[in-house]
Structure formats: structure tokens, C-alpha cells
């Protein structure tokens, strides 16, 4: 395989993560230049053009929510286009990612990916022979790899903690593959394939069929990535390509260990519950959770604080009661089912989380305790709902389950919130964030240190080789060196603006006012007749028999005071000059932390040349 211009794993990882920031084309260009410089130590001497998916007009791309950037690079020897597909619009949120490809049927995103590549080629004037390389994280990789295998969109695919391709989808997308599957398994349609061929067999065949293409797929995956951990549980999901597995969180035993022996349907229920919770929590904090979870208009329950008030609400607000019952009928049973599945497997799920180091014993106990509480109340509500549907109004009121039902409704309103707060306070959800973090590119990067170079976020970090092992964010240092100079220039402009403002707003304006007064004096002195009202005003009455003769103004003008900002302006200008020196001094200080062979000095020099 020919080496690409940006064909460095770490560049791909850093730029793919940076792409989530939706930078302007110019900013992205300089980011590419800087990352290239940091990774290779040399300047990228190439023509770079950028096309972002939001720049396309009228097409499926925007409508499907596809988000990506095409980067065209021509270094004189070769032309290439890199396409970064974003995982999801809301960033590296694994739970939503997990839902798409795992449920696995929609192909509009791979289609949008292909269409975007086509439009980018046109817009950027990319040669037909130019290599098109895709980078993608999470769902972005899934879309890229499916577009590659289904449509031949790319020449190469590089994925990071990617969601894998789905063989059943590829069967519908790639007719060549479809023919081969039909031939091999003697199936004649989708249902046939699902029913008569085991997913394992199909997966093996898929790997074999795409053997050549697999050479062009490269993946790096964290052994702690939750998405990757779920791949084996989804029928038809196939890991294709050359895969490098990295342990990014050595404190825990890895996601496969965590999920081992837990039945897939249980994992799915846990995942669903987490999703439901995440969605409700996103909507506006714990208070909103109840509303979101149950679809109940909490305003109706405003005055329901006791069984007595429940009965009066039931009696006098039948409409609200019916609406509430309807909402609960819809929301409670499926939620309860999931909570029960999780509780039935509580030792397995929470026990395993604890054993593998993700959560503490206390977190485990709190979670089980609160979930059991939730389960008992939801059960009561379910019983009440069943009673309500089978009993007449009067019977319902007399039935014993109604008392409990009312009690549990009151509980939904008040105590569910505190139950969820308890779970939150236990730290459980934060602990689970450790799992989520393992899906991120920065955690992959953090595991990629080499010599005295390592990563922090998407930045490169050098550990000092001269003296104390101080960690220096070299990316930030270069950005400082490169981007603070324009800030100082801006500051100079603003100082000039201030000087101008002082002149206009104070000095000139004072002169203006003075002139206006002088003009008025002139008018008074030259035409006293027009100022007869002065007579009355100053008590010389009656005025009708008096004739104005002269007016003399004894004017006194003082020079404006407190308008001298010279000293301050001088100080401000001085701070710009010393700022420039300070930048150089900082550069020197950093250089001194390193040996000459670290070439830090050259990085600084080059950083101002793009």
C-alpha cells in the first residue's frame, strides 16, 4: 500500500477528534498543518482544500444528519482526499451510537456518506484517480465501512473505536455480495437468510468474501470500549480489517470480561434503561426525569400529596386522571419489565461491575436498594392500573389496591426524584462514565505514548529531557507561539482605537461644545432683539415697553480636565512590546527543558510558517 500524505495513524486519530469541533476551513487547515508538524517534525508543503457537509445545498446529506469534512491535499506528487465522518451530531455519545448500528437497519447514513464524497469530489475538483481515504470514529466508522463495502465509496478506511458493519445490511446494499450469499447458502430473500443461515456462518462468509477489501480497512479499538464489547452480541456484526487492540484503561479488566456470560437480552435491557435515563436526564435534570419517564403531566399532580387529595383529584378531575392512567399504562409496563430483568440479574450485573473495578461496593448496594424500591412502587402502580381497567369507578374507589396506587402516584411525584438523587450521589453514574470514556479517541491517544511523547486530549505532550521530567503540552506551546502574536496585533489596533476615542469623545467633542456655546454668544450679541424674553425671565416687567439694545456675554472658558490618557496609552503600548518579548522568553524557557535532539526549536520556527 502506497503511503498517503497524511497516512499516519496518530494524525488520523487527532484530526478525527478535532473534526467534532466543526472548525472553520481556515482553522482546520492550520490544525492539519500543526498536527502534521508535530507528528513528523516537518512542514506540510501541500495545497489543502476543505469541504464540509454543511456546505452542500439541497440534498439528502443534511436531511439525514450526516456530518463530515472532506480534506483535499495535493503535495505535487500525489493528490488525495480524506473524508472524516462524524460519529453522531451530538458528539461521542456512545449510548446513541450503540443504538443505531446495533439495531442496525437504516442505511441512509452510508448513502449520505457516498453522496457527500461525490459532492466533495466535484466541489474540490478531485481527480478521478485520486485516492479517497476515510477516517471515522464510532458510528462514523460504521458508515464509512458500509459505504466502502456496499458502494465502493473509498479506497481505504481507517476506524477508531468504530461500530462494525452489519452483514445483513451489506446483503441489501452490495448486489455482488448478495449473489455470492445466495449462491453459497441457497437462500432467496432476507427472511430466508436470517432464518436458515446462522449469524456465525454468515459472519465467517462475509469475512471471506471481503478478504481483499479488508486489507484496506484499518481499525484501532480499545479493549475497554463498550461499543466494541457489544459487537459479539449483535447478530450479523462483523469485525473486518486489520485491527489493533489497545488496553486504554488498565485499571479495569476490559469490556469483554465485564459482559462475559451476561445474556445479550439482559445487556440490551441494561442499555435501554441507561438510554431512557440518559434521555430523561438530558431533558432537564432529576425533576424532569419522572415526567419524561412516565409521560405524566406533573402539573396534574400538583395538589396530590396524600391519599385524601388523591381521592378528591380522582373524583373531581376525571379527565386528568384518565389521561394520567393512559400515560402510565403506556410507560409503566415496559419500564417495569426492564427494571425486573436488571434486578433478576442484579448480582451478575452489579457484581461484575464491582469485580471488574468499575464501581464500588457502596455504589452497588445503593443501586440495588433504589432499584428494588422503584420496582415495588411500579408494581403497585401496575396492579392499580389493572384494577382500574377491570373495576367500575365506584368499585375502583373501594378496592384496596387503589389505596396503594394512590400512594405510589404520590411517590412518583415526590420520592422518585430522591431515589434517583440517591443513585446519582452514590457516584454510580460517574463511575459508569469511565466506561463511556473508553469509547473516546483521547483515551486511545493517551495509550499511545512513545518515548518522551504522549497525548493529552488531542494535544501532544513532551516530557522534559533536561532536568525535572516536566510535562509540556507542546501543541499548546506551538499554538501560543503562533496565535498570540496576532492577538497582540489586535491589541495594538484597539489601543489606537482608544487613542482615537479619547480624541474624538473628549478633546474634539469639548471643542464642539465650546463652539456651540460661542455660536450662541455671537447670535445673542449680534441680534439682541431676538432675546426679548430675557427681560421677563430676569424680572424686568412689563416687557412690552422695553427695547433690547445690547447683550454682552462675559464668557469664561476653561480647558478640559482629566482628559489626559497619555501615560496609560504609553503603558498599554509598552505591554504589547513586552508581550512580544514574553512570547520569545516563554519559547526559550520551553526549549531549555529539552535536549537539542528533541528539535523543539525547529517546531517553534516552523509553527509560524503556515
Amino acid at each position: 500500500m502506497a503511503k498517503g500524505i497524511l497516512d499516519y495513524e496518530l494524525m488520523a486519530m487527532r484530526l478525527t477528534n478535532k473534526e467534532y469541533e466543526n472548525m472553520t476551513a481556515d482553522k482546520l487547515k492550520s490544525t492539519i498543518q500543526q498536527i502534521y508538524l508535530e507528528e513528523t517534525g516537518s512542514l506540510l508543503d501541500a495545497d489543502i482544500k476543505i469541504f464540509h457537509s454543511s456546505d452542500t445545498e439541497d440534498s439528502l446529506i443534511n436531511q439525514t444528519g450526516y456530518n463530515g469534512t472532506a480534506i483535499y491535499i495535493d503535495d505535487g506528487n500525489q493528490e488525495e482526499m480524506y473524508v472524516i465522518s462524524q460519529g453522531t451530531t451530538n458528539g461521542p455519545d456512545w449510548s446513541f451510537n450503540a443504538k443505531g448500528p446495533l439495531a442496525g437497519e437504516s442505511i441512509d447514513q452510508p448513502q449520505a456518506t457516498d453522496l457527500f464524497v461525490e459532492q466533495a469530489k466535484n466541489k474540490l475538483g478531485v481527480d478521478e484517480d485520486a485516492k479517497v481515504i476515510s477516517w471515522g470514529h464510532s458510528l462514523g466508522h460504521h458508515n464509512n465501512a458500509e459505504a466502502y463495502l456496499g458502494y465502493g465509496t473509498f479506497d481505504e478506511v481507517y476506524g477508531m473505536n468504530g461500530a462494525q458493519v452489519n452483514a445483513y445490511q451489506l446483503f441489501d446494499m452490495n448486489i455482488d455480495f448478495q449473489k455470492a450469499v445466495i449462491e453459497k447458502f441457497k437462500v432467496r430473500n432476507d427472511a430466508d437468510l436470517r432464518q436458515r443461515v446462522s449469524a456465525d456462518e454468515l459472519e465467517v462468509f462475509t469475512k471471506e468474501f471481503f478478504k481483499d477489501e479488508s486489507k484496506n480497512i484499518h481499525q484501532i479499538i480499545s479493549s475497554d470500549d463498550p461499543l466494541n464489547g457489544l459487537t459479539p452480541f449483535v447478530p450479523g456484526m462483523v469485525e473486518l480489517g486489520q485491527i489493533e487492540v489497545v488496553d486504554t484503561n488498565p485499571d479495569v479488566s476490559g469490556i469483554k470480561e465485564l459482559a462475559k456470560d451476561i445474556p445479550p437480552e439482559v445487556i440490551k435491557d441494561v442499555q435501554d434503561l441507561a438510554l431512557i435515563y440518559a434521555k430523561a436526564d438530558n431533558a432537564g435534570g432529576t425533576k424532569e426525569v419522572a415526567k419524561q419517564l412516565f409521560g405524566v403531566n406533573m402539573d396534574y399532580l400538583k395538589d396530590v400529596n396524600s391519599f385524601g387529595s388523591f381521592l378528591s383529584w380522582y373524583t373531581f378531575n376525571q379527565g386528568e386522571f384518565d389521561e394520567t392512567v393512559k400515560a402510565l399504562n403506556k410507560s409503566v409496563p415496559p419500564l417495569l419489565d426492564k427494571v425486573r430483568v436488571v434486578l433478576d440479574n442484579k448480582d451478575l450485573i452489579f457484581g461484575r461491575l464491582q469485580e471488574t473495578g468499575y464501581i464500588s461496593l457502596k455504589e452497588k448496594d445503593t443501586m440495588i436498594e433504589e432499584l428494588e424500591l422503584i420496582e415495588s412502587h411500579l408494581s403497585t402502580i401496575e396492579d392499580g392500573l389493572n384494577a382500574n381497567s377491570s373495576l367500575s369507578g365506584v368499585q375502583f374507589l373501594q378496592d384496596i389496591s387503589t389505596v396503594a396506587f394512590g400512594g405510589s402516584l404520590v411517590w412518583i411525584k415526590s420520592s422518585l426524584t430522591s431515589s434517583i438523587e440517591c443513585m446519582k450521589e452514590s457516584g454510580f453514574f460517574e463511575s459508569l462514565n469511565k466506561i463511556v470514556a473508553s469509547h473516546s479517541i483521547p483515551e486511545l491517544l493517551a495509550a499511545m505514548s512513545k518515548g518522551n511523547k504522549s497525548y493529552f486530549g488531542t494535544d501532544m505532550v513532551y516530557t522534559a529531557t533536561n532536568g525535572d521530567p516536566i510535562k509540556v503540552n507542546i501543541s499548546a506551546a506551538l499554538r501560543m507561539y503562533r496565535e498570540t502574536l496576532p492577538i497582540l496585533e489586535e491589541k495594538e489596533t484597539k489601543i489606537r482605537n482608544f487613542e482615537k476615542a479619547v480624541k474624538e469623545e473628549l478633546d474634539d467633542s469639548y471643542k464642539d461644545e465650546k463652539r456651540k456655546v460661542q455660536d450662541e454668544i455671537d447670535r445673542m450679541e449680534s441680534s439682541p432683539g431676538s432675546y426679548r424674553d430675557l427681560l421677563a425671565k430676569h424680572g424686568h416687567l412689563p416687557a412690552f415697553n422695553k427695547e433690547m439694545k445690547t447683550i454682552k456675554v462675559h464668557e469664561v472658558f476653561y480647558p478640559l480636565e482629566n482628559n489626559d490618557f497619555d501615560e496609560e496609552i504609553h503603558e498599554l503600548k509598552k505591554s504589547v512590546e513586552s508581550g512580544k518579548l514574553y512570547i520569545e522568553k516563554y519559547r526559550k524557557a520551553i526549549e531549555d527543558l529539552f535536549d537539542e535532539e528533541d528539535n523543539v526549536s525547529r517546531l517553534f520556527d516552523f509553527s509560524r510558517r503556515f
Binding site: D58, S59, L60, Q63, T64, G65, E105, S106, I107, D108, Q111, D114, L115, E118, Q119, G150, Y151, G152, Y168, D172, M173, N174, I175, D176, Q178, K179, I182, K186, R188, N189, D190, A191, D192
Partner: protein, 202 residues
């Protein structure tokens, strides 16, 4: 059929009152069908999940469970085939609807890439106003034939179709050929019946 409840859609009706054919007896397929009144002998109107197009649906076919509407109704995949797995010939329609595809050249190229061969699309006169239909027959082997089609309108809405026609394994080549020819006619009729719903939302 007359059960006195003309206004009910098939999915709201008692299955006992529905025509005794796979299209109506299959719960998922029933949801797609507009009414129990046939458009022509053996065909009923199917309304897509995004309500963006209709077609004449053969009564002995069923919709695959993976069919779905995409993000905000901007795309849809619709897959259907004969319910009888042992039918002499099996047709499977894989239909993809997209709300906006910039130009047809792109679509042809995409279809070529999916097919793995140059498709020779031929324009087919469309009875539906402002609609363009083109069909290509793919290279076939003894037991299998493929038909590709693109339906498109001026609003750049587009439908891409791949249809496979596959004889049962034990069927002789000669017989298979004539069976496939027959099926091609049927497939072509279904493709011609595809119509964009310009009053989307009604």
C-alpha cells in the same frame, strides 16, 4: 368485501374480515396496505412508511421486517418478497427511497457500483406525470436474474430498486428461463406502478 365498516384501514380490521392472502394475513404487510379494494386483479395499493410513494403490491408477497423509514422521513427502505419460500420463482424487491438526490448520473453510477457491473438503463414510458422511470436488466446466470430501476421526479425525490428473481434449486434451466421471463413482466408492472405521492401528508 363488505363488512359495513368501509372507513377502517386494513390494519384496524379483524383479520378474519380481510382477504385470505399473505399480504393481508401478515400483520406487518397489512399496515402498509391502504384498503382491501384491489387496484387490479391480485394487487393492492401499498403506501410507503414515509407516505411518500405508493405502488401496486402483489397479494402473495409480504414486507420484510427490516423495512423502515429513515431519519425524519427523508429516506426509507422497503423490502418485500413472495411469502411462499418454496415458490418456483422467488422475487425480492429491495427499494430505497431518498428525499433528494442531486442528479440521475450519480444514481446510475451508484447503482453500477452496487451491482458490480455497468448497467444498461433504458427509459420506460411512465404513466405518471412528471416522473421518470428507467430499468436495466443485469447479467444473469441460469437460476438468477436481476432487474435494477430508478424512479425520479422533478423534486429530485428518488427511488432505487434492485429486484432479484431466483428459481427454486430443483427447477430445470429451460423451465427456469420461461418462469423468469414471466416474473420479469410482473416485476416490470410493479416498477411501473411506483408513484410519488405529491400530496405528502394528506
Amino acid at each position: 368485501m363488505s363488512n359495513g365498516k368501509e372507513s377502517l384501514s386494513p390494519s384496524e380490521m379483524d383479520p378474519k374480515d380481510l382477504p385470505d392472502v399473505p399480504a393481508f394475513q401478515d400483520e406487518l404487510t397489512r399496515d402498509y396496505l391502504e384498503s382491501t379494494e384491489s387496484v387490479r386483479e391480485g394487487y393492492y395499493t401499498l403506501v410507503s412508511a414515509t407516505n411518500t410513494f405508493t405502488l401496486d403490491f402483489p397479494e402473495d408477497m409480504v414486507v420484510d421486517e427490516t423495512s423502515m423509514a429513515g431519519n425524519e422521513g427523508n429516506s426509507e427502505s422497503l423490502i418485500f418478497y413472495y411469502d411462499d419460500n418454496d415458490a418456483d420463482v422467488m422475487d425480492q424487491f429491495i427499494i430505497n427511497y431518498y428525499s433528494s438526490i442531486p442528479n440521475i448520473e450519480y444514481s446510475r453510477d451508484l447503482m453500477n457500483r452496487r451491482a458490480g457491473e455497468e448497467l444498461d438503463f433504458k427509459k420506460v414510458p411512465s404513466e405518471n406525470e412528471n416522473q421518470h422511470l428507467e430499468i436495466a436488466e443485469m447479467d444473469s446466470d441460469d437460476s438468477t436474474s436481476y432487474i435494477a430501476a430508478i424512479v425520479r421526479n422533478e423534486k429530485k425525490q428518488e427511488i432505487q430498486v434492485f429486484t432479484s428473481i431466483i428459481c427454486r434449486e430443483d427447477i430445470e434451466n429451460n423451465q427456469c428461463d420461461s418462469l423468469k421471463e414471466e416474473e420479469k413482466e410482473k416485476v416490470s408492472d410493479v416498477l411501473k406502478s411506483i408513484q410519488f405521492n405529491n400530496d405528502k401528508g394528506k
